[in-house]
C-alpha cells in the first residue's frame, strides 16, 4: 500500500501525478485494492457488521468485481458516501465504482457524465406509515409531514407526486437514512419515503417492525445500479459483465456451491463453459484472465444467492423477488448472453 499520507502528499506533484485517470483497471491493479463507494449504512444493502466488515447486496457487487479483477474478494476499500458526496467521489477518482442504490436517470447518465452499467435492483419509491395512523393509500396523505432524504431522486419524485395529486405536504429533510429513521420513530414525521427496498430494510431494523406498514403505491421507477465514470469503457465493461455474470449464473444454475465442480472441466452447456472460462476467451476480451467470472461467483455466489442472503424473504428485510426475478420466472432480470 502506498503511503500517501505524508510523504505522498508532499511528493504528489512530482511523482504520483503520473497515473492517468483514463485506465481505472491499471490503477486498481497497481493499488491492489478496489475503492468502492457505498452508503453510510443501510442494512441488507451495505452496512458494516459488529466487526466493521461491510456486507450487503450492494457490497456483494463490489466484492464480485474485486474477486474478478484482483482475485481477492476482500481487496475492497469501502468508502461510505452520502447523497451529497457520492457523485463527486466518483467523478474525482476517489472511488472506482459506486454501488450505492443509485437511480439510473437520464441526467445522471448524460449531464453528470457517468455510465450506469446495469441494474442490480428494480425498485420504486414507497411510503411507510405507522399502522396506528390508519392510512391505507398515499393519496390520503394530504397535509402529512414527510421525512425525505435530501439529494436523492426520491425528493423530486415526492414533489411531483404531491403536485400531480394536488395535495399538500410538509417536507422534513434529513441527511442520512439513520436520521430519517430516528425522526420517523420519534413521530416527527407521519411518513417516511424512500425506495421500497430501503423502507423494508429500515423497517427491519425497528424494534417492532409489525407496527409499520408500507403503502401499496409505488410512485416512481427506481432502477438501481452500479455506476462508473464516463469515458473509461474498458473498466465499465468489466463491472457491467461482472454483474451480468452474477445474473446469468443464476439463470444457468451456477452457484457458489457447484462453481468449482462446473469449472473443473467442460460441461454440457457451452454458455456455462464460456462463462467459467473453460471454453473461449471471454476473459481476455475484457482484459482479465479466463477464470474471472468463476472467482466472482465463488466469492459471492450468483445473483439469487446474493439476494437471498442479504435481502431475501428469509432475512429480516424480507423482500420478495418480484420484478427482480429472472425473466424465466416472470421477472425482468435479463442478462445479455455470454457469447
Amino acid at each position: 500500500m502506498k503511503k500517501t499520507v505524508f510523504l505522498g502528499a508532499l511528493t504528489v506533484a512530482g511523482v504520483a501525478a503520473g497515473a492517468s485517470a483514463a485506465a481505472t483497471l491499471d490503477d486498481v491493479k497497481a493499488r491492489g485494492k478496489l475503492n468502492c463507494g457505498v452508503t453510510t449504512g443501510l442494512v441488507g444493502f451495505a452496512a458494516p457488521d459488529a466487526n466493521g466488515v461491510w456486507e450487503g447486496f450492494d457490497v456483494a457487487v463490489c466484492r464480485a468485481v474485486a474477486a474478478a479483477v484482483l482475485s481477492d474478494a476482500n481487496a475492497v476499500e469501502f468508502v461510505p458516501t452520502t447523497g451529497k458526496t457520492r457523485f463527486t467521489a466518483l467523478a474525482s477518482g476517489e472511488i472506482d465504482m459506486l454501488a450505492r442504490n443509485t437511480t439510473w436517470t437520464f441526467s445522471r447518465d448524460t449531464d453528470l457524465k457517468f455510465d450506469f452499467i446495469g441494474v442490480n435492483y428494480y425498485d420504486g419509491q414507497g411510503f411507510m406509515v405507522p399502522k396506528a395512523l390508519g392510512v391505507s393509500s398515499a393519496k390520503e396523505l394530504d397535509g402529512a409531514t414527510v421525512c425525505i432524504q435530501t439529494g436523492t431522486t426520491t425528493e423530486l419524485n415526492l414533489a411531483d407526486f404531491f403536485r400531480k395529486n394536488n395535495i399538500s405536504y410538509e417536507p422534513v429533510p434529513v441527511e442520512t437514512n439513520a436520521e430519517g429513521q430516528q425522526q420517523y420513530l420519534a413521530g416527527a414525521c407521519d411518513t417516511y419515503t424512500t425506495d421500497a427496498s430501503g423502507l423494508a430494510s429500515t423497517r427491519a431494523a425497528f424494534e417492532n417492525p409489525t407496527e409499520h406498514v408500507i403503502l401499496p403505491e409505488i410512485i416512481s421507477k427506481e432502477p438501481l445500479g452500479p455506476l462508473v465514470r464516463h469515458g473509461d469503457n474498458e473498466w465499465g465493461d468489466i463491472v457491467r459483465w461482472t454483474l451480468n455474470a452474477l445474473i446469468s449464473a443464476e439463470e444457468l444454475g451456477v452457484t457458489s456451491a457447484n462453481v468449482e465442480e462446473l469449472a473443473s472441466g467442460a460441461t454440457d452447456s457451452p454458455e456455462v463453459n464460456r462463462l467459467l472460462g473453460t471454453e473461449g476467451n471471454l476473459g481476455e476480451m475484457i482484459g482479465l484472465d479466463a477464470t474471472w467470472a468463476k472467482r466472482a461467483l465463488a466469492a459471492v455466489g450468483n445473483y439469487g444467492e446474493v439476494f437471498e442472503k442479504n435481502i431475501g424473504e428469509k432475512t429480516p428485510i424480507g423482500l420478495a423477488r418480484g420484478l427482480n426475478a429472472q425473466w424465466t420466472d416472470g421477472g425482468i432480470l435479463y442478462s445479455p448472453p455470454f457469447r
Binding site: 501525478a17 492517468s20 466493521g52 425497528f206
Partner: protein
C-alpha cells in the same frame, strides 16, 4: 474632686468579644452573599429552587443508571419503569466513541500511547518555566513518533520526514547569513527535494521495522477530533506567524496577499471550507491524485485556523511598544534578526492566551466534520450508534458523554490559558 462622682471606673481591659452572631461565620457569609436585600433574597430562593429541581430530576437518572445491558429494550426492562439512564450504551460502545468502528481493537494502545506522550511533549511548551528546555527535543520528535504510532507502517517514513526537516533547518542555518527570506525558501526547497528523493527509498522498503499500518479511513470517534485539533493548531501557528508578519509587511504585494487570504477565510463559515475539502478540492488537484478525506480536511482546517491565529499574533505585534522596533533597528539588526531576537519572542508571549482561545474554538469546531460524513464522535453517535437497532433512542447518555469529553478538554485548556494570563501579567508589572 470631680472624679469622686464616678460610680465605676474600669481598671482592666475587657477581653476581645466575638462579633455578634449575625456578623460572623456562616451567618455573616449567608447574609452578605445570599440575603443582603429583598431582591437578592428572591433571587436566591428562585436559584435554589432551580438547582433543587435539576438535582432532584437528575439524581435518580444517575443513581438508577444501568451499566450492563445488551440493548435499549433490555435496559428498559431492567429499569422496569423507574427513571434511569442506560449507560450501558457507553460501556458497550466506548471503543467506537473513542476510536471509531474500524480501528483494530488490538491496536488501541497505539493512539492511547500517542495521547499520553502528547502531554509529555506539550509540557515544556505550556509550562516553560517548570520543565527543562531539553525536553523540547522530545517535543520536536513527537509529531513523527505520533504519526508512526497512529498510522503505523514502516518506521522509515517518519524517520525520513524528520531527516528532511533537519536538512531544511541545516540549509536555513547555513544561508541565513545572506538573507533570511532566501534562507527560508532555500531550506524549504532542500527539504522538499529530500522528501521527493526519499520517496524512492521508503517506497520499496515499506516493510522495514513496520508495525501494522492503519489507513486513515479506519479512524474515527473522539480520536479524530483530538488529532484534527492538535495537528491543525500546531501546523497553523507557523502559518499564522508568517501571515501576521506578511500583513504587517511594508511590501504592498505581500501585504495584500495576506490581507485577502485572512479576510476571505475569516469571512466564510468553516462548514463551507469543509464542503470545499469534500466536494470541490478534487477538481483543483492533478487528475489521479487522491488525498484521503482526512488530509484534505486537515489542509482546510489548518488554513482556517491560520487566518485566526494570524489575527491574534497581529494583535500581539501591535501591542509591542514602538520603541522595541526602533531599539532593534538602532542596534543594526536586520529584519530577520530583529524579528527572531526581539519582536517575535515578546509578541508571541503576549499572544499565547489568544492562541489558546483560538485552539479551543477550533477543537470544538472539529465536530463539524461529522456533517461531511466523517465518523468523529458526533458522527459516530448520529450514524452507526443511533441507527443500530439495539441503541435506537438513547440520546442523553450519548450526547452527554460527548459534551462531557469536550467540556473536560476545553475547560482544562481555558483554565490553563487564564492561569497563563495571570502569569504574564505579573511578569510585566
Amino acid at each position: 474632686m470631680v472624679q469622686e462622682h464616678f460610680a465605676f471606673v474600669r481598671s482592666t481591659m475587657l477581653p476581645e468579644a466575638p462579633p455578634p452572631a449575625a456578623e460572623r461565620g456562616v451567618v455573616k457569609w449567608l447574609r452578605e452573599n445570599l440575603f443582603s436585600s429583598a431582591a437578592n433574597t428572591l433571587l436566591t430562593v428562585v436559584s435554589l429552587y432551580v438547582v433543587l429541581q435539576i438535582a432532584s430530576s437528575a439524581a435518580p437518572w444517575f443513581l438508577n443508571g444501568v451499566w450492563d445491558s445488551p440493548s435499549l429494550t433490555a435496559c428498559r426492562d431492567i429499569l422496569d419503569g423507574k427513571m434511569g439512564g442506560c449507560f450501558a450504551v457507553l460501556s458497550e460502545r466506548w471503543n467506537q466513541l473513542l476510536f471509531g468502528f474500524k480501528y483494530p481493537s488490538e491496536l488501541y494502545w497505539r493512539p492511547g500511547l500517542a495521547f499520553v506522550l502528547l502531554f509529555i511533549a506539550g509540557a515544556p511548551l505550556l509550562f516553560y518555566k517548570i520543565f527543562p528546555s531539553k525536553m523540547l527535543i522530545f517535543t520536536g520528535l513527537y509529531p513523527f513518533i505520533a504519526y508512526w504510532l497512529i498510522w503505523g507502517g514502516s518506521v522509515l517514513v517518519p524517520v525520513f520526514a524528520l531527516l528532511g526537516v533537519l536538512l531544511g533547518a541545516f540549509v536555513y542555518k547555513r544561508t541565513v547569513g545572506a538573507s533570511a527570506g532566501m534562507a527560508v525558501i532555500a531550506g524549504f526547497v532542500a527539504a522538499l527535494i529530500f522528501w521527493m528523493l526519499s520517496g524512492f527509498i521508503t517506497g520499496p522498503m515499506e516493510n522495514v521495522l513496520a508495525i501494522e499500518p492503519v489507513p486513515s479511513r479506519d479512524m474515527g470517534g473522539f480520536m479524530i477530533n483530538l488529532m484534527l485539533g492538535v495537528v491543525c493548531v500546531s501546523l497553523s501557528v507557523p502559518f499564522g506567524i508568517a501571515l501576521a508578519l506578511g500583513r504587517q509587511s511594508s511590501m504592498p504585494i505581500i501585504k495584500w496577499i495576506c490581507v485577502v487570504f485572512i479576510e476571505f477565510i475569516r469571512g466564510v463559515p468553516l462548514i463551507t471550507l469543509l464542503f470545499v475539502a469534500n466536494v470541490v478540492l478534487a477538481y483543483f488537484l492533478p487528475p489521479g491524485t487522491s488525498f484521503d478525506l482526512i488530509l484534505r480536511v486537515i489542509i482546510m482546517i489548518t488554513m482556517f485556523a491560520s487566518a485566526y491565529i494570524a489575527e491574534v499574533i497581529r494583535g500581539g505585534l501591535a501591542a509591542l511598544p514602538r520603541g522595541q522596533y526602533e531599539a532593534a533597528d538602532s542596534l543594526g539588526l536586520d529584519y530577520a534578526q530583529a524579528m527572531q531576537l526581539i519582536i517575535l519572542p515578546q509578541a508571541l508571549k503576549i499572544s499565547i492566551p489568544g492562541i489558546v482561545n483560538v485552539a479551543v474554538g477550533l477543537f470544538k469546531d472539529t465536530t463539524l466534520v461529522s456533517v461531511i460524513s466523517m465518523f468523529d464522535i458526533v458522527g459516530m453517535i448520529r450514524g452507526p450508534i443511533l441507527a443500530s437497532s439495539e441503541w435506537n433512542g438513547v440520546y442523553w447518555e450519548l450526547f452527554g458523554f460527548a459534551a462531557l469529553l469536550f467540556f473536560i478538554t476545553c475547560y482544562g485548556i481555558s483554565q490553563y490559558s487564564q492561569w497563563l494570563e495571570r502569569q504574564l501579567q505579573t511578569d510585566h508589572r
